[in-house]
C-alpha cells in the first residue's frame, strides 16, 4: 500500500519564478494538507483541501495557492518566489472524519530559491 508520494524531491528555482509541487495521497485518504518547514523550524500549516476545495488556510500570502483533483491528488503553487520560500514542503493526507487522526506525511519536496 503506497503512502504519500511527493514530486519532485528537490528543485532549484530563481527569485520571481513560479513553482508547482505535487502530492498523491495514501490510498483511501481524501484530504490533503500542505506544510512548509523552514530550516531549523517545525512545519507550518499552509492549507488543506477536501472535495477539491480549500477548507482552511494558514498565515500564508496569496502567492501560495493550491488545487485538488477528483482523484484526491493535489498541487501546491507558489508564485513570485522569494528567497524566504526556500524550505521543505510536506504533504499530509488523511480521511475526513477519521477520529484517530491518521495523518500520513510524504517525504517532502526540498525547494531552494536562489
Amino acid at each position: 500500500d503506497a503512502g504519500v508520494t511527493q514530486s519532485p524531491t528537490h528543485l532549484i528555482k530563481t527569485r520571481g519564478q513560479q513553482v508547482t509541487l505535487r502530492c498523491s495521497p495514501k490510498s483511501g485518504h481524501d484530504t490533503v494538507s500542505w506544510y512548509q518547514q523552514a530550516l531549523g523550524q517545525g512545519p507550518q500549516f499552509i492549507f488543506q483541501y477536501y472535495e477539491e476545495e480549500e477548507r482552511q488556510r494558514g498565515n500564508f500570502p496569496d502567492r501560495f495557492s493550491g488545487h485538488q483533483f477528483p482523484n484526491y491528488s493535489s498541487e501546491l503553487n507558489v508564485n513570485a518566489l522569494l528567497l524566504g520560500d526556500s524550505a521543505l514542503y510536506l504533504c499530509a493526507s488523511s480521511k475526513l472524519g477519521q477520529r484517530d487522526y491518521g495523518y500520513t506525511f510524504g517525504s517532502g519536496t526540498r525547494l531552494t530559491v536562489v
Partner: protein, 114 residues
C-alpha cells in the same frame, strides 16, 4: 489559538541512557497531542498521540509520553536510547476543529552518542 514550546533545541545523550524530551503547550480549548520523528531527509513519522483516556501513552520504538493537563505538558520519554534514535523530534497539538490542522513546536534534536 494554540502554541507549542519545545525548550530544548538539542539533547545529547549516551547510548542506553534514558531520555526525556520536553513539550509544553498553550491552548484555551481541549487539544489533541502528538509526537513525530523526522530522520534526515525524510518526512514525519508519528510516534504516539493522545486523544483521550489514559494520560500515559505508549508509542512505537519504545517511546512513551504523559499528558499533564495541569502543567500543560506532554513530555516524551524512552528508558534506553539507541544510536538509531538520533533524529529530530517534533511535538504538535491540534484542536477539535474541522480541519484538525497540526501546530508544531520548533523541534528537538536527539543526538545519541556511543
Amino acid at each position: 489559538a494554540q502554541s507549542v514550546t519545545q525548550l530544548d533545541s538539542q539533547v545529547p545523550v549516551f547510548e542506553e541512557a534514558p531520555v526525556e524530551l520536553r513539550c509544553n503547550y498553550s491552548s484555551s480549548v481541549s487539544v489533541y497531542l502528538f509526537w513525530y520523528v523526522q530522520y534526515p531527509n525524510q518526512g514525519l513519522q508519528l510516534l504516539l498521540k493522545y486523544l483521550s483516556g489514559s494520560t500515559l501513552v505508549k508509542g512505537i520504538n519504545g517511546f512513551e509520553a504523559e499528558f499533564n493537563k495541569s502543567q500543560t505538558s506532554f513530555h516524551l520519554r524512552k528508558p534506553s536510547v539507541h544510536i538509531s534514535d538520533t533524529a529530530e523530534y517534533f511535538c504538535a497539538v491540534s484542536d477539535h476543529g474541522a480541519t484538525n490542522k497540526l501546530i508544531f513546536g520548533t523541534g528537538t534534536l536527539l543526538a545519541v552518542q556511543p
